[in-house]
Symmetry: C3
Subunit: 152 residues, 3 copies
Amino acid sequence: MSTILSRIEELGYTLPEAPAPAGSYVNCTRSGNLLFLAGGIPPLTDDTYIGKVPTDTSVEVAQEAARLITLNRLAVVKEEIGDLDKITKIVNVGGFVNSEPDFYQHPAVINGCSDLLVEIFGDKGIHSRTAMGAAALPLNVSVEINMIIEVQ
Amino acid sequence: MSTILSRIEELGYTLPEAPAPAGSYVNCTRSGNLLFLAGGIPPLTDDTYIGKVPTDTSVEVAQEAARLITLNRLAVVKEEIGDLDKITKIVNVGGFVNSEPDFYQHPAVINGCSDLLVEIFGDKGIHSRTAMGAAALPLNVSVEINMIIEVQ
Amino acid sequence: MSTILSRIEELGYTLPEAPAPAGSYVNCTRSGNLLFLAGGIPPLTDDTYIGKVPTDTSVEVAQEAARLITLNRLAVVKEEIGDLDKITKIVNVGGFVNSEPDFYQHPAVINGCSDLLVEIFGDKGIHSRTAMGAAALPLNVSVEINMIIEVQ
């Protein structure tokens, strides 16, 4: 098993199936050594990851959404390049929180993604990031995250 | 005539003049094989493409705005590289909808752009994408779209 | 002294210390010749650069915030590559304004960044850009700006 995949299981997580895109696009494109990942959303099995932070859903649950998006983004990368060990660098993360106008803890929410990336990839997982509050997000999800990832 | 340009006309569209930027920047920069396009806005001849979705303007009209932005972004690329046939890949699209806080169909709006890119470019037009709701957009336009495009 | 650093001082500015990131990320990553800068925020010494535009803070003060972010982003680049003269191109700027839903002058605010980049770098400072209104920003800052910069 690949080093990164066993690291993910060691941390107690499982890679989900790569989710279907929510529109006329694909989850991942490649140009040179860079993968450009589409904005990923959390699983929609119930309304846990739905609504505005912090009124409809808490910071803690939105952090969990960010972690689940991170895992489904990695599932997309695995589908694209076959082996997560080929990732050389998580370059950049864009984190969008479905935000009340007076909510300011977007960094705490997106840390759910950033901390997990570093736990999984170590130094290769350390990325630059932009976190912000969106007025609304597709399907009313609480969090949306895109990434730029460098691969071999 | 270039293949892509005749394809655009075949679909019933015409490339507009590349619009002037709305501030102290340019519509397109290049680094290596990548073009980074500025956030483009729809034509402002009247107030058709102005206001928040869905209260001031409908999903359908916002989709049309997205299509018109796509065409003016391609006009910018043509101005930059001379020939749209030099495009090898639409890499990434960022779609921002001037959104009421309880509007969630941003993907449907930005499909106006994504579907047209695939109609024009076929496989080369299939891109990754992030769609989201902005609290407000420059000049109160209904939609703003940026792109990363790979060229020869 | 490097040409760019003396140009900055000639314009009456001083590079600040590179600020600490507001979460589990770094201010800058590099892939090939591109630097990806995290979303930077203005200094938080008092509440000058806090709140929504234009109710809590004016367009003019938000422009000043954009200028100060630009300087701290350049401080980050200096820390990363040692010498600002190694910058070959400011490729792209993303400007996010903490925006009331009926504020539409985001381009004027982000011009505070764009104009300064061109004053400092001349032709190398001319970039593409996306400006938009966020529903809320981290720590309630008035402006957040990220950049992609090409270096030698």
